[in-house]
């Protein structure tokens, strides 16, 4: 169970939110929405432990994530605004390096399968530089098929994806939830998933 208790964020002059709280059990999805600049990305990075809360704390299974440290990070997969890909490496190399960093090296075959699942079979050996925006995004998303972690924190994963890929990703998210995973998601796009299952947080209403 992922819990936020009385979270507050201040960036520069602005107080983005205060007293933000929620709890998310296994199999639940949290949909964070709100206008640009309302603090969605800040919240997600706070949940990962990248941003230090001004007040409050984030807890995983009842323990503060700052105490848990590596043990929490081992359960976590975060995909941010930036795709975290190296332009000079091929899609395949990027995927394998990312997995090894995550502490779970994968074989070439496994990585290829994940790329296949996203329709990237032709691009596996191309440097990411020459891929289109949407293809880049998919390479980043391929990690979802590789690392069996419980918490997925996804910042606008649907951007730059075409219709078919959006549907596929929604399917993947649903499967993950059915398997007892947790998902925290932000998106500006209206997708079916967010309409149905979701617990939501509307940003821009927590500030003062």
């Amino acid at each position: 169970m992922l819990e936020a208790v009385g979270l507050a964020a201040v960036r520069g002059d602005r107080r983005l939110f205060t007293g933000l709280a929620f709890s998310l059990a296994a199999g639940e999805l949290l949909y964070v929405h709100g206008p640009n600049g309302s603090g969605k990305t800040t919240l997600l990075r706070m949940l990962c432990g990248l941003v230090l809360p001004e007040a409050g704390e984030v807890r995983w299974e009842g323990h503060s994530i700052r105490k848990l440290g590596e043990d929490y990070r081992r359960e976590l997969l975060y995909l941010g605004h930036a795709a975290a890909l190296k332009d000079e490496l091929t899609a395949l190399e990027n995927l394998r390096v990312a997995s090894a960093l995550q502490g779970r090296p994968v074989s070439e075959r496994q990585a290829l399968e994940a790329l296949d699942a996203l329709g990237l079979e032709d691009c596996a050996d191309l440097p990411v530089q020459v891929l289109s925006q949407g293809q880049k995004r998919r390479v980043a998303l391929a990690r979802l098929y590789l690392t069996p972690v419980r918490i997925w924190i996804l910042d606008e994963p649907f951007t730059a994806l075409d219709k078919k890929a959006v549907a596929g990703l929604e399917q993947t998210l649903a499967n993950h939830l059915r398997g007892g995973g947790l998902v925290v998601l932000t998106t500006h796009q209206e997708v079916m998933l967010t309409a149905a299952v979701a617990k939501t947080i509307a940003m821009g209403s927590w500030g003062d």
Binding site: C48, Y78, G80, A84, K86, A98, A100, Q102, G103
Partner: protein, 222 residues
């Protein structure tokens, strides 16, 4: 864990091979700066021999300082650094792995090139050998210390100039012992004292710089 560290080093080395121009530019910057001095100071071999260790060392420091921007910069701007922070390994070890790769790519070539430049300045035999040793011990320390500065200035405007302000004062001991060793050798005092001090600095840097750089990275990404 070793797998993660090894793949970190290998990744950075692979990237360096793909961007070989980056690697070469550091090396050539070093060569060019060293070659500028005779042009500024004049061609008398006597003077040149005296200033050679200082010049080579100052050039090595400037060259590796300029390369610092690339140590975390690319990973920062494409989001990989966030992922590195989120990896379930001790961040300081990952930083150490990155610094190792960076040194192999920017420091080691300087070390290998230095004897050639020393020859151009009329250094020979023992003196050249001492210069080589000081660089071999000193450049890792420089990369390690520089990593802290690079991590602190990540994403700041004018970061590249700021980083030099931060790290140059820290480089001064390395510079003094590095250039001093050669002079001590030439003047017959022997360079062991200087070399062991340099070694001590390198070991200290190896122990503490990754920790400091890791902390700085967490701050910069907040």
């Amino acid at each position: 864990m070793w797998a993660a560290l090894r793949s970190m080093v290998m990744r950075d080395l692979t990237l360096a091979v793909r961007r070989v121009a980056d690697v070469l530019t550091t090396l050539f910057f070093f060569v060019i700066v060293v070659s500028l001095f005779p042009l500024g100071v004049g061609p008398e071999m006597e003077t040149l021999r005296v200033i050679a260790p200082g010049v080579v060392w100052v050039a090595a420091i400037l060259a590796s300082m300029l390369a610092l921007g690339r140590l975390f910069g690319n990973d920062y701007s494409d989001g990989t650094l966030e992922q590195i922070l989120l990896a379930p390994q001790p961040l300081s070890l990952l930083v150490a792995a990155k610094v190792l790769a960076h040194w192999l790519v920017t420091g080691l070539p300087l070390v290998l090139m230095a004897p050639l430049l020393g020859l151009q300045f009329g250094l020979e035999g023992e003196a050249l050998w001492t210069l080589w040793w000081t660089l071999l011990l000193g450049t890792p320390a420089i990369s390690l210390i520089g990593a802290v500065g690079a991590a602190l200035t990540l994403g700041l405007r004018g970061g590249s100039v700021l980083v030099s302000l931060l790290v140059l004062p820290l480089y001064i001991p390395v510079l003094i012992f590095g250039a001093g060793a050669v002079e001590a050798q030439v003047s017959g005092l022997g360079a062991t004292a200087h070399l062991s001090l340099l070694g001590a600095i390198a070991v200290l840097a190896l122990c503490f710089a990754p920790l400091a750089a890791a902390a700085a990275l967490r701050i910069s990404l907040d």
